[in-house]
């Protein structure tokens, strides 16, 4: 009996080593600091994607190695270096923050790896710094606020106050809304960001109120979202300064706002390329399995992370695990031939998605949980404004 087990173990070991980790994916996100709440959501989605794939792309095993950027560009670059040099990953993916991605891109691209952003979409990497080995599984930063600008025009907003964190993505978001918004911008504040970000917005909110604007546009991702939304309501601005936000009221902040019963947020409107209510088979499976496994709605960060793993798996399958066939992998990624949870989309010349953007509204679902649902399609097959600056064809 013992002998049999040993033999079985031996063969199973042989079998696994023959297949072991054919393709390694390094996934960089934020797993410490308060922003770890986003990283955790992304990690959950990656694990769910691996589970749905059975850990395999076709006949080839996939392995994901997570790295923590600590919400800081220098740490993000270090962890990227480690994944590339020490763990010898084939794909580098993840990245919540634009400044972290900008600092890390060279480490991955100079080593000839494929780099895929699951969230950050800095304008530089869509334009001048575009690269044949870099793909976005999310959007370019300007696009979501551009959709919001259109919403503002339709809502008849004539003057706007803008608040955003002072870093690469914050500046892109502001530029984005300024691109499409036709009214007047009466004031703008860029606040301190990073691990020691400013979270008390008393001075800025007082200015916004005094400006007499028709509305306020904000971009406050992660932990800052809860802080901003609360102070906005404590200041009693709901009736005279309506809130229009991007990446602020989302699957991350809603459960917390609900726990503290900040009911003022129900009914507020945001723009996004994805929503849990989007009606396609991949999304329905993703959202229901995610809820069953982790007990909350997935955020857009989770949706994009799930897509990242699925698109890598599809590409690996297409080249039959041959990681030396870089042209084949690039072509497979560029075809976007996988079941994305946002519905089908294509890639533009700069390897950023050409996709739809929706207007979504915060609603209470059948179980009493706060979530969002799509109310309108704002932009159709939208190409980001920096694609023209990219030299790739």
């Amino acid at each position: 009996m013992k002998k049999l087990i040993t033999t079985l173990l031996g063969t199973s070991l042989l079998a696994t080593s023959a297949l072991a980790a054919d393709v390694k994916i390094g996934f960089v996100t934020t797993l410490t600091t308060p922003a770890a709440v986003i990283g955790k959501d992304m990690q959950n989605a990656v694990n769910l994607a691996m589970e749905h794939l059975g850990g395999k792309a076709g006949a080839h095993n996939l392995e994901v190695i997570f790295g923590d950027d600590g919400f800081a560009p220098d740490t993000g670059k270090q962890v990227t270096d480690r994944l590339v040099k020490q763990d010898k990953v084939d794909f580098v993916a993840g990245y919540i923050w634009s400044h972290v991605l900008l600092a890390s891109r060279k480490s991955a691209l100079d080593a000839g790896k494929i780099l895929i952003s699951s969230n950050a979409g800095p304008s530089q990497m869509a334009g001048k710094l575009c690269h044949e080995n870099f793909f976005s599984a999310s959007w370019q930063n300007d696009q979501t606020p551009m959709a919001m600008g259109e919403v503002l025009n339709k809502a008849g907003v004539k003057s706007l106050y803008i608040m955003a964190p002072n870093y690469a993505a914050g500046k892109d978001m502001v530029a984005g809304v300024e691109r499409t918004f036709k009214g007047q911008i009466v004031g703008k504040d860029l606040t301190k960001w990073g691990a020691d970000a400013q979270l008390d917005f008393s001075a800025e909110l007082a200015k916004a109120k005094a400006s007499g604007a028709d509305g306020i546009f904000v971009f406050y991702p992660g932990a800052a979202a809860g802080a901003f939304t609360k102070q906005y309501h404590q200041a009693g601005l709901k009736d005279n300064l309506p809130l229009y936000s991007v990446f602020t009221v989302d699957g991350i902040s809603l459960p917390k706002l609900q726990a503290a019963n900040f009911s003022g947020v129900v009914g507020s409107k945001v723009t996004q390329e994805w929503d849990p209510s989007l009606d396609n088979a991949a999304n329905i499976k993703f959202v229901s399995d995610f809820k069953a496994k982790y007990g909350t709605y997935p955020s857009f960060y989770a949706a994009q992370s799930y897509d990242t793993i699925r698109m890598i798996a599809a590409a690996v399958e297409k080249v039959d695990g041959d990681m030396s066939d870089m042209d084949g992998i690039r072509a497979a990624l560029k075809s976007a031939d996988f079941d994305s949870v946002r519905g089908s989309y294509s890639y533009g010349s700069n390897n950023f998605p050409v996709q739809n953007f929706y207007l979504r509204e915060v609603v209470v679902d059948g179980d009493g949980n706060w979530t969002t649902q799509v109310v309108d399609k704002v932009l159709t097959n939208h190409v980001d404004p920096h694609a023209a600056d990219c030299k790739m064809k």
């Binding site: 703008k188 400013q198 404590q234």
Partner: protein, 307 residues
């Protein structure tokens, strides 16, 4: 620039200053009297916020939760002094820094394990959640006024304790000449523990007061501790009066800088340059002040009289 906005911003600056004072007072007490550098002071601020958040959900009322959290945080401060600070008193400042930095890592990780990475938003009772009209055009969130009053009450209590009680006299005596106080037969260890507990309660109170605005979150203490050190350096290390005035000064400079610097810059530069440079300069402003103070008056604005 209209004056109502200016008044509101002054109130915002006052609120920030009061919170800074609550943190800085404990820091300056411990440093002034015990000659002990306590980097982990900010962690107590974070623990105060988290404990108060949990109790708010357990009891259903923020005010009760705050009143119960205060003694809990004081006990934590007392325990910290007995277990971690006391063995380090005899060693030099670098060991203090290393030891308490380790304590920060331990407490941050503990908080991560207990409360998770997400942070907790604290609901306020309806009476504190609205706005108050102070003058026809001046409407401010009620809770911000509550922070100012609670902070001023704590500051007044501290002033009374330090200047008008026997304990306060001993604390001041201990700050001036520790050896002499011991020689007079005072149990200096008990006094040190008491000072530590008071400092922890004040920092915890600051954390509890800010949590309904920002929320209780990991690492929140590490941000404020740096500003608190700026405050005690500007005010003069070990000086209570210095800490109070410097906290208000730093609070005002930070708030007014964020509020008005871009408008001021727009007078003499293009608006896009002003928009980009104002946030950078305003986030540097308090450190610029500190650098100036260190250059021209290294002992701080209001140094304690005897050391």
């Amino acid at each position: 620039m209209d004056y109502t906005l200016f008044v509101i911003q002054l109130l915002n600056g006052l609120q920030l200053g009061i919170l800074l004072f609550l943190v800085a007072s404990g820091l300056t007490l411990v440093f002034g009297i015990l000659d002990f550098v306590n980097l982990a002071h900010g962690s107590v601020y974070m623990l105060g916020a988290f404990i108060c958040a949990s109790l708010t959900f357990a009891l259903g009322n923020f005010v009760y939760a705050l009143l119960i959290s205060l003694p809990i945080v004081a006990v934590i401060g007392y325990g910290f002094e007995r277990l971690i600070a006391r063995p380090l008193y005899e060693r030099d400042h670098l060991d203090h820094v290393l030891g308490t930095f380790g304590a920060i890592l331990v407490m941050d990780t503990l908080a991560h394990m207990i409360w998770g990475p997400a942070g907790i938003a604290i609901p306020l009772p309806a009476a504190l959640d609205g706005q108050t009209q102070l003058a026809p055009d001046i409407v401010v969130p009620t809770f911000r006024l509550a922070i100012i009053s609670a902070g001023l009450i704590a500051a007044a209590g501290l002033y009374w304790l330090v200047n008008h009680t026997r304990t306060g006299m001993l604390i001041r005596a201990g700050a001036s000449n520790r050896t002499m106080v011991t020689a007079l037969g005072i149990d200096i260890q008990a006094l040190f523990s008491f000072v530590f507990a008071i400092g922890a309660a004040l920092a915890g109170l600051a954390g509890m007061l800010i949590a309904p605005i920002t929320e209780a979150s990991l690492g929140m203490g590490n941000n404020i501790i740096i500003t608190a050190f700026v405050v005690i350096i500007v005010g003069g290390i070990g000086s209570m009066k210095g800490a109070f005035l410097a906290a208000l000064l730093i609070g005002m400079i930070d708030t007014l800088g964020r509020a008005f610097l871009d408008d001021i810059f727009k007078i003499f530069m293009s608006s896009s340059v002003a928009e980009n440079s104002a946030p950078a300069i305003s986030s540097m402003s308090i450190y610029l002040i500190m650098a100036l103070i260190l250059f021209f008056r290294p002992q701080g604005l209001f140094p304690p009289k005897l050391r």
